[in-house]
Amino acid sequence: MSARNAEAWRTLPNVPPTHVVSGEVYTDHGIFVAEKERIFGRCWHLACHESELPNTYDFRTFDYVGTPLIAVRGRDGIIRTFINVCSHRGAKIIHEPAGNAERLTCFYHLWSYDDRGACVDMPRPEAYHGVGLTKEDCGLREVRTEAFLGLVFINMDDDAPDLTGYLDGALDSFAPVLGSGELEVFHYNQSILHANWKAWQETNLDLYHEWMHVLLRRTQMKAASMESRVVKALKNGHTAAGGLKASYEMYKGMAKRDTDMALPGLVPDDFFFADIWPNVAILARGTAIRIDVVIPIDEQTMLVEWRGLGRKGDTAEQRRLRMRHHNQYWGPFGRNVPEDAFASEACEAGFRGGAAAYQILAREENGAGQDDGMMRAWYAEWSRRTGRSAAQPTAAVAAE
């Protein structure tokens, strides 16, 4: 058989339902609404790294699937997160991405909140006493916040299991480096990409796509054997890959990375990564760590945040070199990440109007090489969370 007609094109291939994902998961509005509620309303979400809030009263604001949030380091050193919205008339309170403020004062009528989210001041409060309202009734909405290995996570669901149980060891391979206490974020950028949010996670989970990157074809595919790779499906949809190596000098204009640039617990040519379900990827090359967080905006639009982590104690020269290591692969002018972004948007172009019916995740390499196992594991959790088969997601929905 060569080309296919309409009917053959639409027919699911004869592979297990775990090995194929319908195009509807990208485009169906009901699925998107379900994802917002069942996934983003209930899972732990990586908000920032603790180095972004080094001092008491430092804050970071961010938008989480339409909800403005603010993380604040309190006078007790603990980071708490609040909905960044005023109890009075609903205004978004703080508008800068980061800053330092002992009190969060709403610009509109100057209601003021402390680092625990309590409303501690409002002008002329006596006008509310007639109906029995006092500032004690007007605290901010606090959102559950837990930190692990320096990563600050939040959860909109007050009843969700705690973070440690949720991660369940998925970051074990990162414990030496992330747990060293020596890291800080030195790179941050974010982009709106015109694709369904899952397309970004797919680029991170899909080992087979190293064929796309000339940089990986040169520095990675032969740096270690395919057989030495280890692809793992962990609990709760998390996944991890290891056993990869990089020969940086194989790409013209790049150089071998020196040991003295290595981060705590890493060797320079190491490459391994973990994916925290649903929307985080953490990638370690020996001298820099990259963290991606993706958030849906609508069915066909996402926001991706990229962070780079390095050593706090870098000299200026080391920092400059580390930025180069990070950005030559991963920056907005890097050789790799723009290609992944291109790929995400190209898949969206295939699925958006229904031209592509499904995608095939059927590679089996015994958890090594370019096995699709990470993608299958990710979609298995997606099915569990949404109550829908990824192969036929609009067929029937399981109750929670």
Binding site: E52, F186, H187, Y188, V214, Y251, G253, P332, R335, P338
Partner: protein, 158 residues
Amino acid sequence: MNVASGQLSREQAIRETVYRSCMALDAEDFSAFLDLCAPDLEYTVTAFSPEIRKEMIWLEQDLEGMRALLEMVPQHLKRLGTLKRHVSVYLIDDGNDGIAKVTSSFIVTHTDPQGRSQLFVAGTYCDEVDCRGERFLLRKRNAHLETRDLGIGSHIPI
């Protein structure tokens, strides 16, 4: 009209060094671009992140690095369509050492394969032009970006 025909003022020659470098990148004529660069080229693209309150260097290359990077561009999967750097030279600080410091404002537009254009990046160039030789050469460039969301990014330096 006090300048005779057929002569280029030194100031204009300095400006043209900046403009030609941008036209070469627009056209993706990398050898023309490299030909405008001094051997001691330092090229950086920077941006300030208000999220982490830090200055970032997104790209840093010397002449050899730039040559290698540009040589590889055709093998990469890059942004479709064309970029056009729209530059206005603002300040020329023409030092006695034959090095002119030049500050320019720029807007880059992107035109997609369907022919629709939009604003891609706004920023400032802080350049140095080496005026000591027969030809003026670009010796240093810092492209400081206001815009930090570059969509899918770019394999070609701004």
